[in-house]
């Protein structure tokens, strides 16, 4: 396996140490728990903190998003596996003097089980924490069963918008309700091109032929719409957008925030070409665009592939989207 690491058992710890050292002006460990990373300058006690637990191996999400105007804490699990509810509980307890807490949960089985466990334990301790389950990946469940869909790159809109809103002093109920509105207006579809290597098994994360791509594959190789021959960017983008447009009805004059996320090895050159085709498609439908995001944010090691996420936005969402954040790895 061609990865530059030290002991396999220490991958996550070594990475977190590097992250906290490299960004020591903005983040720190909640000592002695080296799997719980928090803001260096904590949020005002009157405001609602936002936290999430997630498996690692998908950097920069979510540790890179800790900062003013974004996340308050990240509980980091091992490679591709959710941190245990016990650890998430530690994160929650850290904020128990705040008037409320939002626990974000991306809709993947392990994350949900552990998140729910943490919430139950916190409720036993009378902590006012609410979970928001995030989902957006249209390939993972059909229209009508939105709440069975996986959390994909479009969850980014929730993180960022709630992060800004909570920084602005909004209360727990408003945050959860805004989170649900953002979720309901987000759609994501992804494409896998070639597999990265699991740092644990040393094997390819999925298999895909030299002349094929896989539309709708999840970040851990979960299946979606299926394989097809590779094609040019314009065709792939329009196939994907056709599917998204089948799933959600957009109208003339809607203002969308597009997010083109690279999954690891796909070059920025390609992501920009894809973005060019995406904007052309949207423009054809008279759809307006607000501050798109084009880069690698939710990766699966060195997998090649990308996803397109669209948020149908309100003015409030747009303002929150572009509100400043100090997170080390989130940049509009």
């Amino acid at each position: 396996m061609k990865k530059i690491i030290n002991l396999k058992e220490n991958i996550v710890n070594d990475m977190l140490n590097g992250y906290v050292k490299a960004n020591s002006d903005r983040v720190k460990f909640f000592e002695p728990n080296k799997r719980l990373i928090i803001r260096k300058n904590p949020k005002n006690i009157s405001k609602i903190p936002l936290l999430i637990g997630n498996g690692s191996g998908h950097e920069p999400i979510a540790l890179g998003w800790i900062g003013e105007g974004l996340l308050d804490a990240n509980v980091v699990g091992d490679i591709f596996s959710a941190p245990s509810g016990d650890l998430i509980l530690e994160g929650i307890k850290l904020f128990k003097s705040h008037p409320g807490i939002v626990l974000l949960i991306s809709n993947h089985a392990g994350d949900v089980m552990n998140g729910e466990m943490a919430i139950e334990l916190a409720e036993d301790e009378n902590i006012n924490v609410k979970a928001l389950i995030m989902y957006d990946d249209i390939a993972s469940a059909p229209k009508g069963k939105e709440n069975e869909r996986r959390g994909g790159a479009g969850t980014t809109f929730i993180y960022k918008i709630l992060g800004a809103l909570s920084e602005n002093g909004e209360n727990l109920e408003s945050l959860i309700s805004m989170g649900k509105i953002v979720r309901d207006n987000t759609r994501t579809l992804s494409v896998a091109i070639s597999p990265g290597v699991s740092p644990i098994s040393g094997k390819k994360i999925f298999e895909i032929a030299e002349d094929e791509i896989f539309i709708g594959m999840g970040v851990h190789g979960e299946s979606g719409y299926g394989r097809q021959k590779i094609d040019n960017s314009k065709k792939i983008v329009s196939t994907m957008l056709d599917k998204i447009f089948d799933d959600f009805s957009y109208s003339n004059g809607d203002i969308l925030i597009p997010f083109v996320n690279g999954s690891g090895a796909t070059t920025l050159m390609e992501l920009l070409i894809i973005y060019n085709d995406l904007e052309e498609y949207l423009t054809k439908y008279n759809i307006k665009i607000y501050k798109p995001l084009v880069n690698e944010y939710i990766t699966t090691q060195e997998s090649a592939g990308f996803s397109i996420s669209l948020l149908k936005s309100t003015e409030e969402m747009r303002n929150l989207w572009s509100q400043k954040t100090s997170a080390p790895y989130f940049h509009l």
Binding site: D78, S81, S84, D86, G110, M117, S201, K203, H220, E222
Partner: protein
């Protein structure tokens, strides 16, 4: 009874240590290739730290053991596989049959709820459930029968289609491969019963 649990987990640890690569390779075929390492990491964390767990009450001791295992394992398997570990403190050596039935029924109930999983979904439940049925149907139990029930349940997972876990996302739904979580569960349960028989015979 703390000794019972220590012995049981220690034996399980030794067997898993011997077989974790085999389990990883099952998980490589239908998952992300880490289940053997994950369960080994969980057991290693507790078994080699027993002396540092300064708790004398059996229930609290095992609650801490399962917490440590859960934390070091993480994921779905961490939370689901430690349910039995914690429930096991309900073992009553003077009323083995009844207490084991209780342990199994509450374990199964909790796994179903937490894991949103059913019988036949190709998971650890497919070891617990048939064994529970078997024990329920008999007045006493023989170790050989328990073991062969576990073995056949494990083989049965091979042809199941996964409806939970990563295998559910494969085109094949994992058909043709033994469920890795069921494999490690089978080891832990065998060692559990072996330890019960040891206790009885002492």
């Amino acid at each position: 009874m703390i000794e019972f649990h220590k012995n049981w987990l220690h034996r399980s640890y030794l067997v898993i240590k011997d077989k974790y690569k085999e389990i990883d390779s099952l998980d490589q075929q239908i998952g992300d290739g880490d289940h053997g390492s994950t369960i080994l990491r969980g057991l290693d964390k507790v078994v080699n730290n027993f002396e540092n767990i300064d708790i004398n009450n059996e229930v609290d001791f095992m609650s801490e053991v399962s917490r440590l295992m859960r934390i070091s394992m993480g994921g779905a398997s961490g939370i689901l596989m430690t349910i039995f570990i914690k429930e096991s403190t309900n073992l009553n050596i003077n009323n083995i049959h009844k207490s084991v039935l209780n342990i199994f029924s509450s374990t199964i109930e909790k796994i179903k709820k937490r894991g949103k999983v059913n019988i036949g979904d190709k998971s650890i439940l497919d070891i617990y459930y048939p064994l529970h049925v078997k024990i329920n149907n008999e007045d006493d139990f023989l170790i050989d029968e328990i073991f062969s029930s576990i073995d056949s349940s494990l083989q049965n997972t091979k042809n199941m289609e996964a409806k939970v876990g990563r295998a559910k996302f494969l085109d094949t739904k994992g058909v043709g491969v033994i469920d890795p979580g069921a494999f490690s569960t089978s080891i832990i349960l065998k060692e559990f019963f072996r330890e019960i028989f040891n206790e009885k015979n002492n």
